[in-house]
Symmetry: C2
């Protein structure tokens, strides 16, 4: 049996009098032979105090870029151990684990490069004008500064790229902010292994203790206390709408409110226009969509959760192609039995609604939490009139909506909630489609994809991952790409 | 008697059955002979519906830059009438009125220039890589888009520059957002005159009706309903902490929360270090500080409200110079008798506290709402132990704190609230002062001024006007300078 403690101030403390939790293998739902000792409120207070002390020396340190690089290197060196823990705890396949680790390493390196640029922190400077009348114009230099101590919540579906040293932590470190991670309890071992590498990197570079702490917690108490702690100045969260809103509420009710960047939920509508059939073979389009719906059991915030298909001969061909492709797809285990249960319950509830037809993948289950892939087919009126359908179904599910006229798409776009993405399949979509419709799409989403699926979010400065509420808490920021550093910086002008 | 109506959809509607309010002349507290008909909730709903309709055509219009320019020209052409109304309603002197109007015109022109730049709305673009393995890299173009319909609250102390077509409205228009202004009831005529010029400009350029509406309201009902209206997507506010927090609360409790940029209150600490006396003659420094405290009756969010002076012979000279200069200062009428009453009450309350000595200007009053200028002198321990002193006193008042050691300044900076500005007077402040102290100052303020007073905010892209809570609601944004457009834009990525 292995034991894992909270990591606070460069020390991993195993307090064997504390309560502990274990992780489970999603493929057989059996507990893994490990113990994670729950953080106490005293642990949390110590972590925040050390983080506060670290803020000045860490933010001024010249080694921040080297720190990010060193963590990236240590992830690479420890790849085998990390991948094996990741796969055991998440049930995700090895190829996904590798590509997510590569992405995490790339993220760290791109932030390292960003802050290596000379004067990256200066956003504007304006020289003095001694001769201006009636008064001298002062010199003004505007700089990015760290917002303060950042709390990061690990995400169940991205144990590497949006957890311990994922995009939130990497951008906060780059901004000069100490970070306290509340680990996701589904992958506490993977999280601790990564946390240890961060601490090793801090020690090697002699960075101040408290620059990073890692708290083990399987319930809400520690997370809520973290957001409520006066030393914490900003929060990064990826997860459910319910979880994001709860943290947002706490953050707003503090005597000093703080920003929470919560990346929450999205249906990621896909609009298939008749004109796309000029270019796309229905079979290949069907395969592409099903792969995007079912890949890694559909456990992506950008999974296409609702597909509008015209009620035409080509449209019907596409629906048939989707069904065929669905049955050919290998479906993986879901991340945790709770997630699997939620998926089963929600798809059953959807199936009980009038006017729907469910198509369920027929491949045999090998594992316990194996989400059957499900398509729920209905006509537009059925969809629009029933709120049960107007929510994200986390997992390998998509609504297939047969529409009769483009007016119905207009109707949908004006009433739908904010979305991370909207995908449009059409011949020459920018020019052949109604301008007002395209504009409404832009009002409702953070990313518009022409003739492509929404999964596979590029890590790029030109990426926007964050859409109108409730897909994220503030659509003016992104969670992916180097611009995500702006969540954790503020500007200060120096006037002389 | 002149009558003024709400301006909704290019129409000024005088509904003489409605309730009305009047403005008063702050110099004699007599009502001005005018009637402003209160907006009803129906007016508000109509204004929001028209704004929603205007969003698409206005945001796509190629005439936005010309629109800002045309408003600026109309302000110039109507200068005499505007100045006369401004001075009558605000009690502010003519030279201030002119400089504020100049500033407003400059703001409009700088946003016009900003959006004239080709592709100003593109923040990043990243080309496709067809050959990338294992998958093609798509083209990504990230653009700024308008956040939606913006509600702007007029500010009592800036009838031009932070009201009807001030910085908030100009930046929202530049971003492509329709604007609904809730006028400040203290200067409803000035506000309506400006609003009419905006409508004239819209008509001349054939911009969609609903791009701008102007609501007259003397109470909270219309303002609250505006922030609660589902069509409104963002709010700009300049005013008290109480007012800003109330709007923030409403905005957060909506089913779709929206961002409020509230620029609220600040004490704007000034630190005088002994070394400054090497360069500064105490008399000229005293004059400079008193001018900054008393100019336009100290009714600036950046008025220096607390000055730390060393308890040394030079420091005592400076305190004496401040007193002398105070008595020489002409003090103007305050904006409104409510503001004047608040000032009198708060300075009296402060005077009742143990350990303080108040110095009051001795110039005779000419007008009714003439704020006496007041300095409240005390030692550091008295200041730090009494919460009554830890708040902004809006008007010509400053706390003069005699300190015995720089440790006391460290103690202050770690406990003080967020500030718009901090000013540091010292010989070579960047290099001679303690680094940790300077860092703490940066954590607490949006702008650090070396050897200068905080009033006179430059309109410049390198300006940051917005500090940590409660000086503003989100220190990641500025209310002054072209960067303020980011409050009302979101980014959308187009992927091909």
């Amino acid at each position: 049996m292995r034991t894992f403690g909270n990591i606070i101030g460069n020390q991993e403390i195993v307090n064997s009098n504390s309560a502990y939790f274990t992780t489970t293998n999603p493929k057989d739902n059996k507990p893994i032979d490990n113990r994670f000792y729950e953080a106490t409120l005293d642990d949390l207070i110590l972590a925040t105090q050390l983080a506060q002390k670290a803020l000045y020396p860490y933010s001024k340190s010249k080694k921040k870029s080297a720190f990010l690089e060193l963590i990236a290197n240590k992830l690479e060196i420890n790849r085998d151990q990390l991948i094996s823990s990741y796969c055991l705890e998440s049930g995700l396949p090895e190829n996904r684990a590798h590509s997510e680790l590569n992405r995490t390493i790339y993220q760290l390196k791109s932030f390292s490069e960003l802050i290596k640029q000379e004067n990256w922190e200066i956003t504007h400077s304006s020289p003095a004008d001694e001769l201006r009348s009636p008064t001298r114009k002062p010199e003004l230099i505007k700089k990015r500064l760290p917002i303060g101590v950042v709390a990061v919540f690990g995400a169940s579906n991205f144990p590497f790229a949006y957890s311990t040293v994922g995009g939130d932590t990497a951008s906060a470190f780059a901004a000069g902010c100490p970070v306290i991670v509340k680990c996701h309890p589904f992958h506490a071992e993977t999280s601790t292994l990564v946390a240890r590498l961060i601490i090793d990197s801090m020690k090697e570079l002699d960075l101040p203790e408290g620059t990073f702490s890692h708290l083990l917690s399987s319930d809400y108490v520690i997370g809520e206390a973290l957001v409520n702690n006066p030393i914490v100045s900003a929060v990064g969260f990826t997860g459910s709408i319910k979880g994001g809103l709860a943290l947002q509420q706490i953050a707003q009710n503090r005597s000093v409110p703080i920003p929470v960047f919560a990346e929450m939920g999205s249906q990621n509508p896909v609009f298939i226009f008749e004109s796309t059939f000029k270019n796309d073979n229905t079979e290949s389009l069907g395969k592409k969509l099903i792969a995007s719906i079912t890949q890694n059991s559909g456990q992506f915030c950008t999974k296409p959760g609702i597909i509008f298909i015209p009620n035409t001969p080509h449209g019907i061909d596409l629906v048939n192609a989707l069904k065929k492709s669905l049955h050919e797809q290998e479906i993986e285990a879901m991340l945790h039995k709770n997630i699997w249960n939620n998926f089963q319950q929600l798809t059953s509830l959807i199936n009980e609604q009038p006017g729907v037809k469910q198509i369920v993948s027929i491949k045999d289950s090998t594992f316990e939490n194996q989400g059957r892939a499900v398509l729920t087919e209905m006509d537009f009126e059925t969809y629009i009139s029933n709120n049960v359908f107007h929510q994200e179904v986390f997992g390998p599910h998509s609504f297939i909506i047969r529409y009769d006229s483009e007016n119905q798409l207009n109707q949908f776009i004006t009433i739908t909630d904010g979305q991370l993405t909207i995908s449009i399949f059409s011949d020459n979509p920018e020019h052949s489609l109604d301008d007002v419709f395209l504009f409404e799409c832009q009002l409702k989403a953070g990313r518009i994809i022409y003739n492509g699926v929404p999964t596979g979010v590029e890590v790029d400065p030109a990426m926007q991952h964050g859409g109108p509420f409730p897909s994220s808490s503030d659509s003016r920021f992104t969670a992916v790409g180097t611009d995500s550093i702006e969540r954790f910086t503020r500007r200060v002008t120096f006037q002389k």
